[in-house]
Structures are given as structure tokens and as C-alpha cells.
């Protein structure tokens, strides 16, 4: 018995729509098996993961807070992936943005600096993220160095640099030697949307980013160029589109968005700079981008869904002692199923029985 792929005459539109749902369904089935192996009641575990966080207001806000960086980063990554540019170092661009923005917050700490502080932090973070993403992009177009490897290596560099800053020059002198900066001043903090809640202005920014990306991809020539360069490089060359320029552009935009997400996370929910500000947002955003079919609206939904798994994972850990790593396994399996189901859009899967055919031929 052999699995054979048969190319469809044209993309299957129906499957393009339902494939993320099939993928989620298959993931849930796999998770039930995994929970059973771990000796946990699968139904209770699924409830803790997917239902419990949706039942109280605090968790709902927390989902939006977690989805904010995921959606912002994934929107940028989707532009890269559409243009066939493989930025997988968003985690590093996120950290560099957080560091650059925090620089203003740290330097103005305790001064009577005005309302310009937060906007300046956001702008600087976006610029720093963009510049950091430009390193692999320029290495790619100038020297042909694999952007996959360079962008990933820079994640480790950014992580170590942040670590150096909060253990060295930026450490809070009153922080009992913990590797963290002092709490940011109110002017350097992302304002909350509801007093006493968790939801902050960053979620609004993320929604604006989604809208902007939808307009860019759906309504502008640049967006069209990005899609053509990725989908049909030869046609793009005949059309006179500059693929290298688009690699640089998409990397810069995605770096800027990741950097912005970084500072919003630090100046918002966290409130200070410390190591471990990201539970792998930059990598999870890759899953979000694919699960959302590289489409802005899809990414918004996918971001909320993966945020749910983060919150659900934490609740399942507290309530049922399920290890946090299960969330990562879940996310990895989900990405596999999403990719496999995407294959169904282009191909039909068939099982063939070559031996039997041979037998028939000899009769």
C-alpha cells in the first residue's frame, strides 16, 4: 500500500476554508491520546484548556492580552512568508524592540518627562526591530546568505544582550539583586482600557495592524507585488517586480511589528524589562501565521486561539498538574496538521496498491 498525491486541476476553495478546522480537530484527537498517556482525564483536561478560560472575564481579557503580541508578530511574518522570505527570528526582533523602547523608559525614570515618553518608546522600538530584521534581509539580498539561519542566530544574540542589560547597567538598584529594571513610570506604561482590568491599548494597536495589513494585501499594488513574488516568482520577474526590494521591505515591516509588540509587552502587562519576557511569542507567531492561512483576518482568529492554549495550559497546570510543555507539544502538533491539511488544497491523497495491479496485469 502506498500513499500517492494527485495534483488537483485547481486549488480547492472549500478545503482552503475548512482545513484549519480539520487541523484543529485532528490536534484535539491527538491531545486526547496524549492526556490519556499522561494519566490525566482527557475530558477534564480539554475543558481546562479550551472551555474554562472562556468562562470568566479575567481570563477573556488575559486571552486578548496574550493574543496581542502573537497577532502583531504573525501579521508581519505573514507578509514575509507571502513574499517567500523566511524570517524566523521574530523572537529576536521582539526582544530588541523591547530593549530599545525600555532604554527611553529607563533613562527618563524619576524625571518629570511628559506624555511624549510612551509614543517615543513605541517608535524607537519599531525602528530598532526593523533595523534588527534588516540585518538578515540585507545579508540575503547582498550576499545570498540564508536568511533562515542568520535571523535565527540573531535571536540568541538579542537574548544575551537583554540579559546583559538587566543584570548589568540597567539593573534596579533597589531590586534585591534580581535581574530586572525598576518598574516603569506611569508615562512610560501602556494605558489600560478598563480601570483595574488587564486589557490595554496594545490590543487596539494590534487590531489596527490587522486592518492595515488587510488593506495592504487586498487593496494596494504593493500587496499584490508581495503575493505575486511569493506565488509566481517568474511571473513577478516578467512583471518587473523587484523581489529583493520586497524581501527587504517585508523583513523591515515584520521586524518593526515584532519590535512594537516587544515594547508593548514590556511597557504593558509586564511593566519592567527582565529576562524571559517572551514565552516564545516569536516562534508561536509562526504557527499563528500559518494557521491563519497568511490572511490578516485568519491571523486574528488564529492568534486568539493560540492565546487560548497559553491561558488554558496555565490553568491546566494549576488545576490538573499538566506540565506546561504540553502546550508546546500541542502547538507543534497543530502546526503539523495545519501544514498537512494545506497539502489537501493542492493535492488529492490516494492510496494505491501497486502489488495488486501487478498481479492483475499477469492474469
Amino acid at each position: 500500500m502506498q500513499l500517492v498525491l494527485e495534483k488537483r486541476a485547481e486549488r480547492s476553495g472549500t478545503i482552503a476554508l475548512v482545513s484549519p478546522l480539520i487541523a484543529i480537530g485532528l490536534t484535539v484527537v491527538t491531545m486526547i491520546i496524549l492526556f490519556a498517556i499522561l494519566g490525566k482525564n482527557p475530558l477534564l483536561a480539554l475543558h481546562a484548556y479550551f472551555i474554562a478560560p472562556l468562562t470568566d472575564g479575567y481570563s477573556l481579557q488575559e486571552i486578548a492580552v496574550k493574543a496581542t503580541p502573537l497577532v502583531m508578530i504573525a501579521i508581519g511574518l505573514s507578509l514575509c512568508y507571502l513574499a517567500n522570505a523566511w524570517n524566523i527570528g521574530a523572537e529576536g526582533q521582539f526582544l530588541v524592540g523591547a530593549v530599545a523602547g525600555s532604554w527611553i523608559a529607563v533613562k527618563t525614570q524619576g524625571t518629570d518627562a511628559g506624555a511624549w515618553v510612551l509614543p517615543a518608546m513605541l517608535v524607537l522600538a519599531a525602528a530598532a526591530g526593523a533595523l534588527y530584521a534588516l540585518i538578515p534581509a540585507i545579508c540575503k539580498v547582498k550576499f545570498g546568505a540564508s536568511e533562515i539561519l542568520t535571523s535565527l542566530m540573531l535571536v540568541y544574540v538579542a537574548d544575551l544582550f537583554l540579559d546583559y542589560l538587566v543584570r548589568g547597567p540597567w539593573r534596579d538598584p533597589n531590586g534585591f539583586n534580581f535581574p530586572t529594571t525598576a518598574e516603569f513610570d506611569p508615562v512610560a506604561t501602556v494605558p489600560l482600557l478598563i480601570e483595574g482590568g488587564r486589557l490595554h491599548l496594545g490590543s487596539i494597536i494590534a487590531l489596527l495592524v490587522v486592518a492595515a495589513a488587510a488593506i495592504l494585501l487586498g487593496r494596494t499594488i504593493k500587496g499584490f507585488e508581495i503575493r505575486v513574488v511569493g506565488a509566481a516568482p517568474r511571473a513577478a520577474r516578467f512583471g518587473g517586480f523587484n523581489a529583493n526590494q520586497l524581501i527587504v521591505l517585508t523583513f523591515a515591516v515584520s521586524g518593526a511589528l515584532a519590535g512594537l509588540a516587544g515594547i508593548i509587552e514590556v511597557a504593558g502587562p509586564i511593566g519592567h524589562l527582565q529576562p524571559g519576557i517572551s514565552p516564545g511569542y516569536g516562534f508561536t507567531a509562526i504557527i499563528v501565521a500559518f494557521l491563519g492561512r497568511l490572511n490578516p483576518l485568519g491571523i486574528l482568529i488564529a492568534g486568539l486561539f493560540l492565546a487560548l492554549t497559553f491561558i488554558g495550559g496555565e490553568q491546566a497546570q494549576i488545576a490538573m498538574k499538566i506540565p506546561l510543555d504540553v502546550t508546546k507539544v500541542f502547538q507543534g502538533i497543530l502546526l503539523f496538521y495545519v501544514l498537512a491539511c494545506d497539502s489537501l488544497i493542492l493535492y488529492r491523497f490516494k492510496l494505491s496498491f501497486p502489488n495488486r495491479q501487478v498481479a492483475r496485469g499477469t492474469h
Binding site: W86, S146, L152, F283, T327, G332
Partner: protein, 305 residues
């Protein structure tokens, strides 16, 4: 003298996992498949390798566990990228994300445990020779195996018919298919070999490098192994040089931290990663005339029927 010997020993130890993982990936890529999941296969190999050694008390069985775990991971990749013709870059990333989670899950029960690390060769007389004795005759089995492995791979790729066919698949899958070679089957074996090597390389870390398991202990070595394959221009000889150079950078920065050079330790720790970026740039630049990569590397192949 003793310091030089210690440094050489440390460099060999740091290079060995890179060399083993990169050797596997070299074969995979020579068959035309880009498996970016080396880091994920390595980290699962590390967790399973440690689990195996801890449960049985045998480093050898631990290494076998690592090899099996890496191979199983690579089979997932083969099913996706070869069986279902999914984009190889995305599949490799998924494999790494899954591997990091799985290794945390498998290794959680073993954090804080210790095992007796792999024994080192000891030949009375020979091992005691100053400077070279321990370097040549006092290593653990992984080090000798890694050298045998790369020599074997060189011989296979350039001196056997099977190696020629494998390279043909990597350079032009359509022609190899037209000649009647089972491209996808050959590539599956190449991917499995890569997975076995990555698993073994991962297992080396808790079995010989440090005698305990820490989550995330591969620390990007899988990615550096991928960069090494590019560095080597897909040639086994240069891969050896590259692996030992990178091992040397890693060890030198560790020693520099120990000597108290006035540079913050984080900057020194960033050196191997920065070195990777710089090497990739320099090599890609030097090679601007034409690529030495297998021509079909990373492209999807669906045989016509």
C-alpha cells in the same frame, strides 16, 4: 602544556555534537531535502538518551535511545515533507517546535538526576603521552565514532554507486526519477539518517558533555549544525574543519570568561552565534559565482504517474 591539552580536549568535546548532527544533515541535504528540524530532533535525542541511560545505567543504550528518538522525529518530517509534499522550511520549523515541547515533557522527570558519563578510552602507556596522549587515546566513544562517521559518509557519497544515486536525487530529482530511481524512498532514508545522527548528537550532550539533563540544553546547536553544512559547501572534508572551528570558538569564549577578560560574559556567549552569521555572509559572498548547494535542495517532488 596541560592547559593546551585541556583546551584541545574541550574543543573536541564541544565539536563532536556539532560534527555528528551536521554529518547527518549533510547527507539529508545531499539527497535534496532541507530538514530545518535538526534542533528539535537533537533535543528529543538528548531527553530520550538521558532517559535511556538513567533507566538502564548504560550510556550505550542511552545513545541508542537517542538515535531511535531522532529517527522517529525524522520520520514525521519525511511523512510530511516527502509523503504529503508540504513546504520543507515550514515542516522543519514545526519539527523544532514540537521537539522542544516533547523533550521538556520527556525530560521533566529527569531534571536534577545524574548519570555516570561515557567512559574515556585508557590505554596504558599511550594515553599517558604528554600533550597528545589523551587527545588521541583518551577520548570517549562518541568522539571516535564521529570521525568514523564522517569518513564513512565521505566514502559513501563519493566512492559508492548508492552515494552517487543519492547525490543525483539531490541535484535533479526529475532525472533521477526518469532513470527509474525511487527518489522519495532514497530521500526518506537520507532524512532518517539525518534524524539518527541528530538524535545521537543530542544524546551526546547529557551522556558525555555534561552528566545531567537540562531542558533546552542543545542551546541552538542544531541550528549551528545547519549553518555548518552551508559552511562546508556540502563537502564532508570542510565539515570537519568547520565543526572544529566552531568548537574552538565556543571553548575560547568560555576560557576568556574564566580568565576574567573585561568583557561581559553575555557578549562572549554570543560569539558562536555571531561567528555563524559572519561565516555565512563571508562564504555566501565568496561563492557569488555559483552555488555549490545541491540543485534540488528544498524543492518539493511529486512523481508523475
Amino acid at each position: 602544556m596541560e592547559l593546551i591539552e585541556a583546551i584541545i580536549l574541550a574543543v573536541l568535546a564541544a565539536s563532536t555534537p556539532l560534527l555528528i548532527a551536521a554529518t547527518g544533515e549533510l547527507v539529508t541535504e545531499r539527497s535534496g531535502v532541507l530538514n530545518l528540524g535538526v534542533e528539535g530532533m537533537m533535543i528529543v535525542g538528548a531527553a530520550c538518551g538521558f532517559a535511556g541511560a538513567w533507566l538502564t545505567g548504560s550510556v550505550f543504550i542511552g545513545a541508542l535511545f537517542g538515535i531511535i528518538a531522532g529517527t522517529m522525529m525524522s520520520l514525521i518530517f519525511a511523512l510530511m515533507a516527502l509523503g504529503l509534499a508540504v513546504n520543507q522550511v515550514a515542516t522543519g520549523l514545526a519539527l523544532t517546535i514540537l521537539g522542544v515541547g516533547l523533550s521538556g515533557l520527556i525530560g521533566a522527570g529527569f531534571v536534577g538526576e545524574r548519570i555516570t558519563p561515557a567512559v574515556h578510552l585508557a590505554i596504558p602507556g599511550l594515553t599517558d603521552i604528554p600533550l597528545v596522549g589523551r587527545v588521541l587515546f583518551g577520548e570517549d566513544g562518541f568522539v571516535y565514532f564521529s570521525i568514523a562517521l564522517i569518513v564513512g559518509v565521505w566514502w559513501f557519497l563519493y566512492r559508492t554507486r548508492a552515494g552517487l544515486i543519492l547525490r543525483a536525487c539531490g541535484d535533479n530529482h526529475a532525472s533521477a526519477h526518469a532513470l527509474g530511481y525511487p527518489v522519495l524512498r532514497i530521500r526518506t532514508f537520507a532524512v532518517m539518517f539525518g534524524g539518527a545522527c541528530a538524535g545521537l548528537a543530542g544524546a551526546y550532550l547529557p551522556l558525555a558533555y555534561t552528566p545531567f539533563f537540562i531542558p533546552g540544553m542543545t542551546a541552538g546547536r542544531g541550528w549551528i549544525a545547519l549553518a555548518l553544512v552551508v559552511f562546508s559547501s556540502w563537502r564532508p572534508g570542510r565539515l570537519v574543519i568547520g565543526a572544529y572551528l566552531f568548537g574552538a570558538v565556543t571553548i575560547l569564549q568560555l576560557h576568556a570568561q574564566g580568565w576574567g577578560v573585561g568583557i561581559p560574559s553575555q557578549f562572549m556567549s554570543a560569539l558562536p552565534y555571531l561567528a555563524t552569521v559572519i561565516v555565512l555572509i563571508l562564504l555566501s559572498r565568496a561563492r557569488s559565482g555559483g552555488s555549490t548547494a545541491p540543485a534540488a535542495l528544498g524543492t518539493v517532488f511529486v512523481p508523475d504517474r
